[in-house]
Symmetry: C2
Subunit: 238 residues, 2 copies
DNA sequence: CCAAAATTTGCGGGTTCCCGCAGGACAAGA
DNA sequence: TCTTGTCCTGCGGGAACCCGCAAATTTTGG
């Protein structure tokens, strides 16, 4: 049994190494990579079927690396080990996990015990192990009280990239008006109208404010933006 | 000699603890805090004059903590120890350093050697120790080829918060037109006009695109936005 | 001190955005 | 089938944005 560790912080990497060794004595070789790209290469070369990896790394982040790994071998078991439980990350992971794949999502702040349990659960028992906090985010993002539908999220990302309504309409093959409708739904779901000072109107540029709120609430984050930007650029714009 | 460590990651905290113990044998007590707020409290209580602290922590980040610490005792020596060298962080730190204070800024990825050197340099020799990469960012942000002036940066932040031109004019006590002028400068300095696909016009909403580019280039980041948002809210909007 | 350079401000217009209103398209259920 | 609900679409107008032009003001440098 071989395990691949993808993590850029050396301290965390060696901590993980120890945890794996302790939790999975049946594991005979532990491979390491220090960024997403190296992780992909290693995974391809070693055919490792068990990967534990960090999100937010430089040089290709965890989500992108996971996507290409899963594209090549969809039965790979991946345990995500992240600092944050931003909705953007949770959504990003959910978006790329293949049909029936087993994976886990635990926070770096969890106890060593829980990390070891997750390691065994995902790699030995083929369970999906998701931390409580992360689960909480998942729920919230689905509970449509304040949660955005996928369609709305897509629009939000396009807006955040700086595209005009017209450009978005073209990309998404919708009429101009439909795009604007979805935008208004966004403006309601994020509390864009709430004004800091007095109740004066016209304080906010709604389109920009929506993105600001999404960033503050971690519905969006820089990493998601980077991914979207790259996608935009090599899809040639439309 | 007492040293206060403010760092939320337990691994990094203990690593720092070790490094301090090794680099500064004359240090007799090492205090620890696990977020910015606790750090402020500890600093106030212990009157520590030497602080090493992380940026990006939950529950009040390093910049805010440093600001209140320096406000109370401007001669405190602070060594910032951060994962990233985002322009937003570098600028944020530079913005709050008091006249003549000594501080340092090293990345978590630097060698143990350099960390120890920085510890001695800042705390014993009262030098300002800034990592090469960080210095590089500093230069770039000043070299006005692509670097934003302080005025432009301020506007950028206000725009990113979602304020309208009019609102910004009011806050900054400028005319509407001046705000728009500064915006146009922004649009030029960030390459807002560059289009992905063909040379079609009207592809970008410039105001939004400027913020997107700033985020992608790390001129802005979520942490800076949070700070600005809080400031906006308790300045009552104007 | 004056001249050059940079900023600020007003005006005017073309464009985009924001959104109420209202008419279609399509699916679910009585 | 008819209703109800949801979504897409077009129209129209008021507000905000983007920006060229030019005068007024401030700053800089000699």
């Amino acid at each position: 049994m071989r395990i691949l560790i993808v993590e850029d912080d050396p301290l965390h990497r060696s901590y993980l190494h120890e945890a794996v060794r302790a939790a999975l004595p049946e594991c005979d070789t532990i491979l390491e990579a220090e960024n997403g790209h190296a992780g992909e290469v290693q995974a391809r070369k070693s055919r490792a079927e068990h990967v534990v990896m960090d999100l937010q790394m430089s040089e290709r982040n965890g989500i992108e690396a996971a996507r290409t790994i899963w594209r090549e071998r969809p039965d790979t078991k991946i345990l995500f080990w992240s600092n944050y439980s931003d909705e953007a990350y949770v959504r990003g992971v959910a978006r790329i996990v293949p049909e029936g794949a087993t994976y886990g999502y635990v926070l770096k702040s969890t106890s060593e015990e829980r990390l070891k349990l997750a390691l065994r659960g995902v790699f030995m028992e083929s369970q999906c192990v998701i931390d409580r906090e992360v689960r909480g985010i998942q729920q919230k993002s689905l509970g449509n009280a304040h949660g955005l539908s996928d369609a709305e999220y897509e629009i939000l990302v396009d807006v955040a990239l700086g595209l005009t309504d017209k450009a978005i309409a073209q990309r998404k093959k919708l009429s101009l008006r439909s795009v604007q409708n979805r935008l208004q739904q966004l403006y309601e779901k994020l509390d864009v109208y709430e004004v800091p000072g007095g109740g004066s109107e016209g304080w906010y540029n709604l389109r920009m404010r929506a993105v600001a709120v999404a960033l503050l609430r971690k519905v969006l984050n820089a990493s998601a933006l980077e991914r979207a930007e790259r996608e935009l650029r090599n899809s040639g714009g439309n």
